[in-house]
Symmetry: C2
Subunit: 276 residues, 2 copies
């Protein structure tokens, strides 16, 4: 293992939520720099993106497996920015971004995993979930859309669902973008003040903000109960965009490298063929 | 109209297949440069992409309409390369690429437009079809998968389908990447010879190549019969990648500019709000 690879592995390890161990989100500093320097990190991000690009092309060519990156966070933590900064530049044909808003229509006429399963990436693709089935144990729990007797069973459903995906060729990787309450305040204020950003602001954001401790508790439970070796959670410091971007990119790279995607075997009779 | 806009409009016009006029593909030179210089074209592409990026963000924010870019071409004309070169760099959350291979499973248990309709981009998105429903009047016609009595009715279905999309908010823009038979030969040979590209080569590509005149005839018919003001076809010279890339990018930009996407109205009570 090179020094670079060792440093990658140790960062990954430090952010990972350990299976079956208690989790305290307050132990995770949203403003952490992970020992990185801002300018160097920007350069490194470009390097990491090039490596992701090569592996994405192989995954796409192989067409046997897929990777699903789940992004969850409080408002304004930077889910959209992460997608834009890490994935722009990759081949769009190999990426499928799915955003899950408030369910409606046929979605509410099915179990909560139905729409999520339908959006799973097909073989060869990197799928991104901007919000996900975790909303059904987060906002749904905090705002009491269903009683505890219902949401409390969902952690096991979710673990079983993600195990299915993994067993059948879809690596599931989950990132919680951990923003602080004060940084969120600044960012929401920025949205209010900037006419170009104002469309992103919803009065409802303030309602969720008031429930901050309840959301933190729900996140803690969700992460602790569903972080498994097959489908790990990572707590990504998100108060600094440059740290958040590089951390998520490294996590993605790490898992793509572990997958070792291969070019598919060629058809017989191609060697030495002359096209006329 | 500025000089730049006038030049954009005239290129668009020259590539556009006129509604209800006879079309001769042999009048369209696959090696045309459209009067562009290679180095300048690469710089201009970057500029065009920046302008597309701004408009894509507005389309995404507006969330009222969508744009569907259909790419059709003979093998190795550069559909994948076009997607990669023009769309990489845009926000992946606003792009949905759909590739249509040989239909199977439930797809063949429905009419040929069923799977295509299901893949239409939702409001706010730019959808890309890498191949499309046009295969059902191209390869299906040339290889006689269905009799003429069946495929000959399809041009009208397709026009009606695309009119529906346009009427309901999806602008349909179609590009035929026009590669010459000799350039295709070179590119297929390159795939055979390069171990990194060989996985893209299928022996079946040679079968289609033998049917070149039949495909040209089927393309001519398809383009002439279905190029409408609502859903125009463009014949894009594709022997030179840099011409192809800039031409498709300009066509995309032209139609996005025509759509004039707007930021959505803000909720009431946001002005002057202080987030606490």
């Amino acid at each position: 293992m090179s020094t670079k690879d060792a440093s990658l592995a140790s960062v990954i390890e430090s952010l990972r939520v350990k299976q079956d161990k208690p989790l305290k989100l307050s132990d995770h500093d949203p403003a952490a720099t992970l020992g990185w320097d801002k300018e160097a990190a920007k350069l490194e991000l470009e390097d990491v993106k090039v490596r992701i690009d090569v592996l994405q092309q192989r995954l796409f060519a192989e067409e046997q497996r897929s990777l699903l990156l789940v992004l969850q966070a409080m408002d304004a933590a930077g889910k959209d920015g992460t997608i834009r900064n890490i994935l722009a530049g990759l081949n769009p044909a190999g990426i499928k971004v799915s955003s899950f808003g408030v369910p409606g229509g046929p979605e509410v006429q099915h179990d909560y995993l139905w729409r999520v399963h339908a959006a799973a990436p097909s073989k060869g693709l990197i799928g991104i979930f901007n919000r996900s089935h975790y909303e059904d144990v987060l906002v749904v729990r905090v705002k009491q859309f269903v009683p505890k007797s219902v949401w409390s069973k969902r952690y096991d459903h979710i673990k079983a669902f993600e195990e299915l995906l993994d067993d059948e060729g879809t690596k599931v990787v989950k990132c919680f973008l951990n923003v602080s309450q004060d940084e969120q305040r600044k960012r929401l204020q920025e949205r209010v003040d900037d006419p170009e950003k104002r469309w992103k602001f919803r009065m409802g954001d303030l309602e969720d903000r008031k429930l901050w401790p309840e959301f933190q508790e729900a996140y803690t439970d969700a992460l602790a109960k569903t972080s498994t070796d097959k489908a790990p959670w990572y707590v990504v410091p998100a108060d600094r965009n440059w740290v958040r971007n590089l951390a998520v990119a490294k996590i993605l790279l790490h898992h793509l490298e572990e997958m070792k995607p291969q070019l598919p075997p060629e058809e017989e009779g191609i060697d030495g063929l002359v096209v006329t």
